[in-house]
Symmetry: C2
Subunit: 489 residues, 2 copies
């Protein structure tokens, strides 16, 4: 007799085994061995695979944590140890919750006043381009809202003879690719141009679209700006070209802009798709459909554990917006504190507020306060150091890192290393990462996880870590790489 | 030319318009009118539709909030204002997070030590019945994990000629019914016996199962114990009968046990399905498949805004457990603080801990501390008062409320009221609720939302509110009901 649960459908079975999983498993074993006292050439394992700043000793912003703590335990406000504007903000936020508690349910649309303030913040960011709060949806993370939006596209297309296709960059972070595929939609890969600093080129979009003909029905173009894993930041001109292309081909633009605050390049600046769209004027500004994603996990706050993000929808039919809203509300589980964190991210202290000088300056001497300036400064230094060190190693070539949270250098592996990887049944860059992990206790992820041009190999690591950690990783990488190249030359 | 998004599929369109929505819309209007100074017979609107204790002035537990605040802003631990065990617990919890921050990502399986402690707590609850931590999955709420589990059942059955059927109680809270239906599964209603205090009777399960023959493929039985919206608490014997039935019919038991801590009846106690199953011995104890759901939103903590729950799976094939796990992890967005809250709920201070006396006693005189004892005491009083007052009104009949968070009295509406409701295009009990809202500013929900026997009418309201609120609601209900019965007699 069979249990009702013994037969599992393919839908559930088909969860992809990632190359990264092999590395992660080994890393876990090494972690255990270290804790059991097994001697290794290193005392601590360092994992730079994820964009998870707090796990890598980047400290949370003091202003943010003070406000959230006061919201959790309002008795803290009766003491004067917290700055006045911290107490005022906490009071204001709690006043927006039923019963003045972060333990109450929120309306599925979120707290109207917070959404209103978010829309004003987006408007300021975009130099005055209007932002309608009704088009903002709060979600437990940007990945979640991206999945819901893609789900909608799949639904829309569910009576068409061909399945939904979404143009997706190569390289691209894995979670998005997995989400799109698990929804039954097709990924149409377009390659970013590494030689041009991982630029997004319209000719390549054109080629990718042509290649999809007959195989699926392309309805959307997914762009990541600033890039992840590639640190490219699009110029206004580049965005204009993409918008023109989307308009011509009637593609819905899914703009992943979660690293909008993380731009390091001297000549780079973040400009939103929505702003460029508005600046282009009609017919673009009132026809091209855009969804822009943001999150409290990414950027300088790095509050991954709070689970909060939003999507802003531009130029969508209000009826469609209503349906997306229903879809989002039905399963939304965004915690109250994530709504609050969104308010803090988008409305930091302003000139004149008691916390402002502290919040923006590099670092108050000796005070246990973590400021935006301090974090920014640290990351800019990390990017600079990582880029310089990696580029100085023979066999490495690293494009400028203009934004985002990752470095993605190309590694030119010797033929003997590639041969050896094949013998061990691994992708060449996975093999490289496995050796680095084994010998140096450093976990980075292989380029094959994100997609790369045939015959090219990369590694990716996060630069959102304390300076000490980045320095240590670069030291270990240098030692390892020098030996690796010698061993396999 | 059509936008890619202008054509919406039926899947998205078919979101049900609830009777409750009409009431909620009117309540919003009234709220606005009140704030604009429109004069009404009441100054404040009271909404008792949801199990949302903090919104109804039930205060959060001090111990819980102190620990969470210290985790959010660890600088608080350097002061001695927080009790020692609060600081120790916060320190321990933060020690389980990468980088010691609630802002880091967690492994999809959660924090192993917390899951281990949860399993020990479940084992204690069940008088020593073993609990394997590998069978516990943390989720952003019990509703979420119930949806995922139901989704799995639907997948399993997706090649069968008939769609998945789930036996579901009447009355039942709406969200679950909507979830099951939106997954494409069939709801097979079984009626709880109001005359017997809303008891679950096996003969009725039998009847319901028979009625489904040929229409769908029944694979699961959903039970809510302690009940919601009906306040029935199952005895050991009743649970044994249900388990025998499930075993015989090879049904997977979905046991919604989120109100396990909320039992008020003098002769009632909560016994888990898992415990009864173990006590029954083989063949039941090692074959009947059970999923038990719990949540930090329900019970005395009432932390709905944190978004945390878990499901424990019993007797499932380990391979199936692995697949459920994959399914859960892929989209899980449980915030770190919800994992912590789960630890606090399942491992409250114990005898000997500095916070213990405070945590358990009724109330420390004059101190601004909210204890478990205080909350329990208040709710027991609320249930008693509500039951007495409602039963004293002519035309009302309320079964004993043994557990849960709601009172669900039957109201015998006069024929003229039923006639009037029909003329206004409303269900009779919706009409009653609308009048109560309009005339007295009290929002309760109509029985038709939850399902009820043809020709019977009910109202449901939450008793998880401060005593003042419950007293005020009962006063307004008494005035309204007396007038209503007179007007329509």
């Amino acid at each position: 007799e069979m249990s009702v649960l013994q037969e599992i459908s393919q839908n559930v079975k088909s969860i992809k085994q990632l190359d990264y999983a092999v590395l992660a498993r080994r890393a876990n074993q090494i972690q255990k061995e270290l804790s059991q006292g097994v001697r290794k050439p290193y005392k601590e394992l360092i994992d730079l695979c994820w964009g998870d700043p707090h796990s890598m000793d980047v400290k949370p912003l003091t202003f943010v944590r003070q406000v959230l703590a006061a919201c959790v335990y309002p008795e803290l406000m009766s003491s004067h140890k917290l700055p006045l504007d911290v107490r005022q903000r906490a009071q204001w936020l709690l006043g927006r919750c039923d019963g003045g508690s972060v333990g109450s349910y929120l309306a599925p649309t979120g707290i109207p006043e917070i959404v209103q303030r978010m829309s004003e913040s987006i408007r300021r960011r975009d130099g005055g381009v209007p932002c309608n709060p009704d088009n903002i949806f709060i979600s437990p993370g940007s990945q979640w809202s991206l999945t819901v939006t893609s789900l909608l596209l799949t639904y829309l297309n569910n009576e068409a003879p061909l399945r939904t296709g979404i143009l997706t960059p190569v390289p691209c972070h894995v979670t998005t690719i997995m989400s799109i595929k698990s929804l039954g939609a097709a990924v149409i890969p377009y390659f970013l141009s590494e030689e041009h600093g991982w630029a997004l080129q319209v000719e390549e979009l054109q080629r990718a679209l042509e290649s999809a003909k007959g195989g699926c029905n392309p309805v959307a173009l997914y762009v990541i700006n600033p890039g992840n894993p590639a640190g490219y930041v699009q110029s206004r001109k580049s965005i204009q070209e993409v918008i023109q292309f989307a308009s011509e081909k009637r593609l819905f633009l899914l703009a992943d802009e979660v690293y909008q605050d993380c731009v390091y390049g001297k000549n780079s600046e973040f400009v939103s798709y929505k702003r460029v769209l508005a600046e282009m004027g009609p017919p673009f500004s009132d026809t091209v459909e855009v969804a822009s994603f943001h999150s409290v996990s990414k950027g300088f706050m790095g509050e991954c554990g709070l689970r909060g993000g939003y999507v802003e929808l531009v130029n969508l039919d209000p009826n469609v917006v209503k349906y997306i809203f229903n879809l989002i509300c039905k399963d939304s589980t965004t915690p109250v504190l994530a709504h609050f964190a969104m308010d803090l991210m988008m409305n930091p202290p302003r000139p004149g507020d008691p916390s402002y000088p502290l919040y923006n300056q590099l670092m108050l001497c000796g005070a246990p306060v973590v400021t935006l300036g301090y974090i920014k400064n640290m990351l800019v230094k990390n990017v600079k150091t990582a880029h310089e060190v990696v580029n100085s190693l023979p066999g490495f070539s690293c494009q400028p890192v203009e934004g985002g949270a990752f470095v993605l250098p190309r590694v030119f592996l010797p033929p003997r290393a590639i041969q050896k990887a094949k013998e061990e049944g691994m992708q060449p860059d996975t093999f490289y990462c496995m050796r680095l992990l084994e010998e140096m206790g450093v976990l980075v992820s292989p380029g094959c996880e994100y997609g790369q041009k045939e015959g090219t190999y990369h590694i990716r690591f996060c630069i959102m870590a304390s300076q000490d950690i980045i320095d240590e990783v670069l030291k270990r990488l240098t030692t390892f790489h020098t030996k690796f190249m010698k061993d396999f030359s």
